[in-house]
């Protein structure tokens, strides 16, 4: 099981490495959106500090959602998804491998880039640290929930719009508590409560999302 998970990871990372453009796309989108805000809103430091958590989190969420279309659709088209369904390993394990690689390619770069972008908003060091931690816990949840949406809309016309409609309501709590944690740090109330809730979301989605995705994939292939 671990071996199959390793091979799925290895395969998807290799594919991402050979098609670097796709990975860079989401990151560039994130950087551009976040960088345009200070230019559009004006250079007033206190205002920028107030809006920073929201802007960074919304941009990260949208960047993550952009890359969902590539999670299963290419495998569906060339028939490799069919072979995964017929592998002698539990589909849940293979799905988990794909979600982990999706996060490594779309979530992790955002986490690493966020402190740099936070500087544009004049965020203090402790807020930057909390921002990073909240993204580190929150972006895997986005990938996990997104995988369910991507699997449900597989092979459907206009799946891009549909996946947003399906997934966005579930993303909202993550957004609220993710951005909330940074705001709470700035207010001095402490981010522990928000981060613990985010951790709870991660644990819940880690347990439930791969099963839901595997079931949705089986339905999509019929």
């Amino acid at each position: 099981m671990i071996r199959a998970l390793g091979w799925v990871l290895r395969r998807d990372l290799l594919l991402a490495f050979r098609r670097r453009g796709d990975v860079v796309n989401a990151l560039v989108f994130f950087v551009i959106v976040v960088s345009l805000f200070p230019l559009g809103v004006g250079p007033e430091a206190s205002q920028l500090r107030n809006m920073a958590p929201g802007v960074l989190w919304v941009a990260a969420l949208l960047a993550c959602m952009l890359s969902l279309a590539r999670l299963f659709a290419p495998d569906h088209q060339d028939g490799t998804l069919e072979q995964m369904l017929l592998a002698g390993e539990p589909l849940v394990v293979l799905v988990l491998g794909k979600v982990i690689s999706h996060w490594l390619m779309s979530g992790l770069p955002l986490v690493l880039m966020a402190p740099l972008l936070g500087l544009q908003f004049d965020l203090p060091a402790d807020s930057l640290a909390v921002l990073c931690v909240s993204l580190l816990i929150g972006t895997p949840v986005l990938s996990l929930i997104g995988s369910v949406g991507a699997a449900l809309t597989l092979g459907v016309r206009g799946s891009g719009v549909l996946v947003s409609l399906l997934v966005l309501p579930l993303y909202v709590p993550v957004l609220i508590f993710g951005a909330g944690s940074v705001v709470a740090t700035a207010n001095g109330t402490g981010a522990e409560a928000h981060l613990l809730l985010l951790g709870g979301f991660l644990a819940l989605s880690l347990v439930l999302a791969p099963w839901a995705t595997a079931a949705a994939l089986r339905i999509a292939m019929e």
């Binding site: 028939g79 490799t80 002698g88």
Partner: protein, 214 residues
Amino acid sequence: MLEALQLECTRGERRLFTGLSFALSRGQLLRVAGANGSGKTSLLRIMCGLLAPSAGELRWCGKSIRSEREEYSRNLLFVGHLNALKDDLTAVENLQVAAALGGKPADVGRMLAALDCFGVAHCAELPAKVLSQGQRRRVALARLALAPTAPLWILDEPFAALDVAAVVELERLLASHLASGGMVVLTTHQEVAVVAHAVLRVDLDQQTAALLAA
């Protein structure tokens, strides 16, 4: 080993076949025949467990394949009409992933031997996107030559896009698989020697005719 009991398949409003029963045991080849659109691919997908029959059941060693999904999948090798190759991976990498997901050893030596079997060893390090249609088919079929192989092969139009040499090689492989107690289910429009000796034949045209008459 593999038993089909009163299978029925409905796609949308159309009933493709109904009351289809057969049994396949070791060393037998089943050829699914029928016109385009008669439901050959649907039957094959049902036999893989990718598609649920609208009625009836498939049993592997007496157990329903839907209850023993992973166990059944380990005994199955399916080559569909899609080649299941990633364009950005090389032929060897594609085979390695296929072998690993099937729970088989994935060392490069075995992969090269399998590719050599179909005469595409020289393409081993080329990404699949630069291969021709026939070469891609050969790489996809090289999975059959990977040892140790699964006992049940389900092949959808395996002879399509192959040249004469590859057809001969595939026939040899099918014959040796059958001789060693394997089972093969395939669809084809070509008349090939090993298929002519098919022990079993399911003709979906008769099904279609019966349904139209009813």
